[in-house]
């Protein structure tokens, strides 16, 4: 299988800038990087999609997660271009999903009982509400944790053959393979992009109280014009020296937060 070299849509400099931005959690950089490599991710997903019980969209999402993980690890000083490096993590992420969802599972007695509870709760929910329950609702009904519900449901997911009839009851000869949507379709891209969960940008400033944040951001021009400590103090009704003390306290707080917990 080829790693499906992406079209050269990005120059080396553009690619580096996007990787650095994505590594820093910049949502715009993440999105642009993903858009640039989505065709290549789709080509890898196509190989896994055939004959396994995993949806294409799920594979694409795992692939995107793999790409963003690669961006967090990729050293832009390497001679290796980004995609050959990232393809390893994209493929690994997809393999993980496939292994998780389609592995042959020998369930313990406890797991079998858990599954029976979930099935009963689902039937009851369908009877009462006429709709499929969510994992959270199943968790509440069974007393299992949401993670347990998710894990147990994954073990129950049936494998689907690429050649199996799509609607076996009506005598149709149309197979699953016949209706696979072209993975390079723009609509698919948008579906995946819409569901990317960009990790939250880690912003140290969130750990400061409001006054500390105002002083630090204003003094160093973070998202606003730069001000002297005298100007900041005047705005807050404080002396410049007091503003300086607040800044020193804020930086000390951040330093401590990063150094803790201390384990002797």
């Amino acid at each position: 299988m080829s790693d499906a070299e992406p079209q050269p849509r990005l120059s080396r400099e553009q690619e580096q800038a996007l990787i650095v931005g994505a590594e820093a959690g910049d949502p715009a950089a993440c999105r642009t990087l993903v858009e640039a490599f989505l065709p290549a991710i789709a080509n890898l997903a196509r190989a896994y999609y055939r004959g396994i019980g995993v949806e294409q969209k799920e594979l694409m999402q795992e692939g995107v997660a793999g790409l963003l993980f690669a961006a967090q690890r990729y050293d832009t000083g390497l001679d290796t271009p980004f995609w050959p490096y990232a393809a390893f993590w994209v493929r690994k992420a997809m393999q993980e999903l496939v292994a998780e969802l389609s592995r042959p599972v020998a369930l313990s007695d406890r797991a079998v009982r858990g599954l029976a509870q979930i099935r009963a709760a689902r039937r009851e929910h369908l009877r009462a509400h006429g709709a499929e329950p969510t994992d959270v609702e199943l968790s509440q009904a069974t007393g299992l944790t949401p993670a347990q519900v998710e894990s147990l449901l994954a073990t129950e997911r049936p494998s689907r053959s690429f050649e199996e009839p799509l609607t076996p009851d009506d005598g149709s000869t149309v197979t699953l393979g016949d209706v696979i949507i072209d993975p390079v379709a723009e609509r698919e891209y948008e579906l995946v992009l819409d569901e990317i969960e960009i990790r939250e940008v880690r912003d140290l400033a969130d750990q400061l109280d409001e006054r500390e944040r105002v002083v630090v951001k204003a003094h160093y021009g973070l998202g606003r014009p730069t001000q002297t400590l005298g100007e900041i103090g005047a705005t807050l009704g404080l002396t410049a020296e007091r503003a300086r003390q607040i800044e020193v306290g804020a930086l000390t707080k951040l330093r401590s937060a990063l150094a803790h917990p201390a384990l002797q």
Binding site: E13, E15, Q16, A17, I19, V20, G21, E23, A24, G25, D26, F69, Q72, R73, D75, T76, G77, L78, T80, P84, Y85, F88, W89, K92, A93, E96, A99, E100, R103, V105, L107, S108, R110, A111, S151, V201, R202, D203, L204, A205, V216, K217, H219, Y220, G221, L222, G223, T226, R244, E247, L251, L254, R255, L258, A259, P261, A262, L263, Q264
Partner: protein, 304 residues
Amino acid sequence: MSAEATAMRHSALVYESRDEYVDRAVAFLREGLDAGEGAVVGNTRSGLAAVREALGPDAARVTFIDVGAAYTRPARTFAAYHKVYAEEFKKAASVRVISDVQYGPEPAEWDMWMGYEALMNHAFAHLPTWAMCSYNANGLPDPLLETVWRTHPEVGTGTTWTKSDHFEEPTQLLRRITPLPEPLPGLRSISSGRGPEALRENLARELKADGVTEAKTLDMLIAVTEIATNAEAHGGGVKDVRLGRANGRFVCEIVDRGNGFDDPTAGYLPPRTGIGRGLWVARQLTWRIDFFRLPQGFTARIWL
């Protein structure tokens, strides 16, 4: 060479199959649980699912870590485990950890993670823990499997534990694999100002002009403050500050007037008595920091 006697036991488990891994991991964790120890397992999601299933009800007493999120850079991986240990030691007097290191496809990166394994011998040496690193013999290239013996005092294969005759003193290994930093002629000097506050002001202007995000600017300001404070305290003061772009990253070099230090573990060991927090903090906030000597002075090269 043998490892120094430490509170920590650092071992490698080389396994041939998923089933063998699960059997060994479950036995290792259960033995710890039975002795009242904390138990942690780090693996990929499917690996965790297999261990969880095999543990049955005991899984509720084990902490599971998705290594896909924890292994981005060694400094951040140490920080992640540092937090895990802090939580575990609230519940138990000693802790067992079995974890799969995540190696990528790039040989140039393998050295970095081999360095991580070497550093592990020092990073948590003071803690009563048994850290077992698991390696898939059928999934990793031979050169990587060979490094297992260099970075772990003992290695388990099959049912036997073997003391490694190839264990390399960690700082020696780290010096051997750390490449000499290349010159970055594109960097330009800026005024360091008078004291850390003026340095931060000058640096913030440059970062803003370069388009660095707010969050990363604050990261860099704090990291540079730590390095500059070190330079003032131990290096005779800041002599030069250079900055610019290299390999797509913002780089800042702090050059001091002292002789510097030759410690490849600097900034990787969690802060504790006798080990400062400055370089640890700086490494958490940045992509990489290189320390090296130049004719101009001892240099800390900070990559954002």
